[in-house]
Symmetry: D2
């Protein structure tokens, strides 16, 4: 566990970052929920604060919750922490107002600071660290949820004035041979990781290769022009049903003419060299089939990424908030853009590792109960906080989800 | 038509009243939509303004709309005025912000003032008058929609600090014999009325009587305790389906113990003497059957109300925003509370009068196209603006609607 | 009440007619339910029999129901007669088999014959008469439900080999001036009529005219070609929603090229002179608006039809089971095709007459509880039994219903 | 590939078995579809025949399909074989009648016999073999679909008069240590297997143990009585949502008092010693968590079953059509009931094996496109044909499916 000093400072840094993300939002922007999967920004602000009040401050029996009746509103899904408001109704919670929620944050932050400065035991420190990672996850969601909300507005407002991303060239695609045989994956026993990354365990890798870089917009346009969205045999059965039912014919946020896309900076020309984003697992899988390839497994991905530095990626800290092509000066044989830009769909259903043990108590509900029907994504995206990603990190979404910055890296048998 | 002077002042008064209704709301409160039937307060503010910009200011070809791209957002249902945003998505329009909408109001109000002070032709004046009545309708909806929204919030916030309504006693119920034979109903050709109140025409009234006052909460509790909600033979077939599907067992906003109800002033004890409110046509009709009575027809109601003064009712101007029992000092034989307190469901489906002509042009869509599947209510409610009700006024809602201040007055054959 | 002898014979005739309608059906055809509004033929056979067992035979406390456990299955909607199977599940009741149901019919018929021959009291006789009218209503439904079912089958099987209907010419349309002022409508106190046709009462008719004949297919095609289905201002708001949601662009059962239509005799060329059928109220109303007319009220219709002979119409007994143009030899000023061919939508919502009293007991549920949200149709159709129609007969369906032989007769103010 | 002679005989045997399963059904029983997941028996009869006509007979360009227009009706999901009728509408296809479908079977069988007796090439023979396995799969579905249909009928008809199953005693539960390390699973390259069982490949097994026998009804009742269905922390998040939404509180087909269950032989007392059946993955997984165990992976299961004889199981050929306890005389350390009784949910999502290649052509749609969102079950059930199961056989269903004979075998880490 990290030293208490650091924890205090880190707490402040992470919490402040969340507030900073809201700087360009009006109070109105923070209250609306554009679909059941997304949450209002105000809800994110309150829920992440509830997490600290409920799981840290309330450990002290002397602590009186600031607003006990808010716990019902801002508990997300922790059944063992008490009943909760129905998720699809989050957009109707106009009260507490944004100001009241900000006050709540201040109050909890003050209590937390005091607590952290007084020194906390190891268990508590561990929960604080989880709470900060939790907060960072919600930071990413806050951005993707706002993007979705703004895309529902015919005025297409920009979240912020963003710099134009550098317009590099996507290299010609290559496949890099992966390691095979018995390997180890998962997070080591020490250091922070979510319970779903553990235990570190042996995996058997079959001979395979992985693409050097993610699929680009230009390549995805080829798939579209080749009739990809009209060819049922390229698709999972359920994917094809979704294509038909939803009328999908391009990635989410793209204009009909395939020339531009809605971004956090507003509507912008589509960069053919940038990695394609906002595709579902169904689209990633169909694209791979069309390309004569497949998606990599999560173990193949992790082994490839294991000794790369996540910090080099186009993550949120770079401030682009949009995927872009990798710079051209990289090592010819190195995998590119494993971290940042887009989360990469893998061919692995999200299930537990052998020997998986959920966290004890309520936090055991954090991850384990979602191990059904979702697929693993790896590597973080352009809106992932820079210190929130690692090779063993497992993100997961339903196969029809498209509102995350989710993209495609190909793999194949070798 | 009214003199231009008066129109100017009246315009200012009505428009200001709308803003005044929002004084206690946060920006967040104004953006959320709690169900497809309801609209956000911000949307009401913008839509009523769009009405004047579109139907009055834009008559001048030299007028440039302040925000041409907002017309799509704030057109409600006028197909001939252009395409419009889907009604159930109104809660996602966080931009324009409340401040921008208020600016829009100011801008349009300034232009309107100028226009009205310069003098307008009769046609224009007529549209302005319609626009003001339209605005007043939305004032009522703004309140009922906010009430619904706040009732969806587990914190049950109050819209405003409201005075306790006077706690009068409901008189013992009596039935007053109505006029019979050929009568005239509908608005006269001159003076303001909606197109659906015209033409004035002959109706044949059969022998009947009408209750002196609306059904009280105490009487409705009797119905509940007698198993009213569990007795299918009291209900229209579709009403019974609704009872089953929705699990109805009391009026909207009542607490389960039948002791209190959510009001615009927050949760309050239920006054047994006050008229029951927030019941659907289905409930009104079932109650009437249980009571061995029926609902009055709209013609019966109108003839009874024709020479009464609407201004005496518990309308919005009284500031209670809640129904209450009539004062005890009234004439023994006079009908009570015809105006104000609660809209009274009639047994009349909402259809056109013989010889009905919709307004010319786009405003022809105001009323006529809704004459299907809805039922007429009469008399206004405790949130109806004082000068917005008259004996010939026809309100209409679907038979399952309960979020309006809708109540019951009994009738019977005689 | 009719003499017992006649009742006996009439019972046999009506009951046999139902069986005769099933002669061309396979057992499989009799079990399927193509939508919640329709019922399987086998269900019709059993339900009409249940009606006699439950409401006539079971009046004798000594009578033991043949299959007491079938009552749950074949009660349609009589809440006071006990619980019932959910309507949309009728197609899953493969047992009892068709043969068992036919046996049930035989058993009940034998008991009924014995009972009728022994002589029944007046009350019982009245219920038997209702039961026979009820059976005839179901005969019509059986045919419209089978038509709907077969139209859902890509093989488009014919119900029967039917004669080609005579191909007359539709006369040029004319409007006939109607009676005005105070009139009487509704069924007289004596003779059979449903409770909803009573009491006979005074109505006030405003000056009006009614079209001599129903709208023809050719005229409806004009409406289509003129963009009728693409012009929102022609439609009720709810009708337009339905058009959009369902993708309506022509009457039910018509081929896309407007050249042919599915009939009980299979797919056939569309006769431009025949009355248009299988249109909803929404379409009838939109057509009327397009034509600068309106639909007649039910009172206007009834007064016009009051002294015409229903038996002249193209009713089921003629065996065409399809609407066709009227013969050319009719009186120039006489209204044509009031009875038979197509049920004619009126502008009257289906509500009770002044002074309406439902039948006592369970049969009070027959009609009254459906007086909400439906519209009155008049005159019977080409599948209505010849002795089952009269001027005062009120049929009723929801405004979006199209699977009945429902058509359009225009009216207008005069 | 098997010799042509045998194929001829085998074809006859398998095809006749399908017909034999329908002996107790009325024509009405064969037409109804009780839910989108299930199909009518008549559809099964026709679809399996279509399979041979389309994929075998039509390979001969000289062959004229008996009913070319039936291909649309009886293609299930092979997009590359042409368009198809919507799955949820299968119950409306009353024509062709059962007799016509039986005729179709006879015709195709005669052609097939001729073809097989004349001798077919290896490719054709391979497709015939697939067609026979396909037919056997549909035999199982025919029984589970009929069971579901009959359970929807309040009369609860029995599919057949079935013998009472032997009432053995379930042994005290034990866990058997499994093999660990590198193993091989999947079907060998030769002999029949579906494409999804291949290629045979290496898997890494972690230390584990597997229960000797499936979970019994008595054990599942314990789970219920202990509040299993009311304890959210036992469930996958989506499973808990399903429990709430569907009101699940016991396995499908059980009576509310947990004393009896609907079987193909009608309603019968529940045998506490028999394996629990008709539970979903969600229930299997929750039960395992409650029991402090987990479900085995499919590889763990397959390795355990690899050298067992499927023929000893309670499969369809035994004629019980109901799970029952294993006989008591078995080897103390041998796993019991791996084959037959109930399909056993595993913890393995249904995905492709490393190096998976779908069959070429249209039959490539047989399995691969369903590898999303489903879970693997192993071992066959009491309605699986005796020669249709093997250790490598992978069945798969959605996690909420309960209408198959699906049960639970526990596993755990060791
Ligand atoms: Fe969270
Ligand atoms: Fe409006
Ligand atoms: Fe009936
Ligand atoms: Fe199949």
């Amino acid at each position: 566990m990290e030293p208490i000093e650091a924890l205090d400072a880190r707490y402040a840094r992470v919490r402040d970052a969340t507030m900073a993300l809201c700087a360009t939002l009006t109070p109105e922007d923070t209250v609306a929920q554009s679909m059941p999967d997304a949450s209002p920004a105000k809800w994110h602000l309150a829920h992440t604060t509830w997490f600290f009040e409920k799981f840290v401050l309330c450990r002290d029996p002397g602590y009186a919750p600031m607003h006990a009746d808010w716990h019902y509103l801002f508990n997300s899904y922790y059944q063992s922490a008490g009943p909760m408001h129905a998720r699809p109704q989050r957009g109707l919670i106009t009260r507490p107002s944004l100001l009241e929620v900000v006050d709540f944050r201040r109050h909890v932050d003050a209590c937390m600071r005091e607590r952290l400065q007084a020194g906390v035991d190891e268990d508590t420190a561990a929960i604080v660290v989880i709470g900060l990672h939790h907060e960072q996850q919600h930071q990413e969601l806050l951005l993707t949820d706002i993007k979705h909300l703004f895309a529902c507005n015919p005025l297409l407002p920009a979240y912020a004035e963003l710099p134009e991303p550098p317009r590099g060239r996507a290299r010609p695609q290559r496949f890099l041979r992966g390691r095979e045989g018995l390997v180890e994956t998962g997070a080591p026993a020490h250091g922070f990781a979510y319970d779903n990354e553990r235990p570190r365990h042996r995996e058997l890798l079959h001979p395979h290769a992985i693409a050097q870089r993610p699929v680009s917009n230009a390549e995805f346009i080829e798939f579209i022009r080749d009739g990809g969205y009209r060819t049922p045999t390229l698709w999972m059965s359920e994917g094809w049903d979704t294509v038909q039912r939803e009328g999908w014919n391009r990635p989410l946020y793209w204009s009909e003419d395939l020339d531009s896309a809605f971004t956090l900076g507003g509507l912008r020309a589509l960069d053919p060299h940038a990695p394609v984003a906002h595709v579902s697992y169904f689209e990633a899988d169909a694209f791979a089939r069309w390309a004569g390839a497949r998606l990599p497994t999560e173990a193949e991905w992790e082994v490839l990424a294991a000794d790369r530095d996540p910090g080099q990626g186009n993550l949120r800290d770079r401030g682009l908030l949009q995927p872009c092509a990798a710079p051209d000066d990289a090592d010819e044989d190195a995998p590119l853009q494993l971290f940042g830009d887009v989360w990469e769909w893998t061919s692995s259903p999200y299930v537990s590792y052998p020997g998986f043990r959920p966290l004890p108590g309520t936090l055991g509900e954090y991850n384990g109960k979602f191990m059904c029907g979702q697929w693993v994504l790896r590597g973080g995206s352009c809106v992932t906080p820079g210190d929130h990603i690692r090779a063993s990190y497992r993100n997961f979404f339903y196969p029809a989800s498209r509102w995350q910055f989710s993209g495609i890296r190909l793999g194949r048998d070798a």
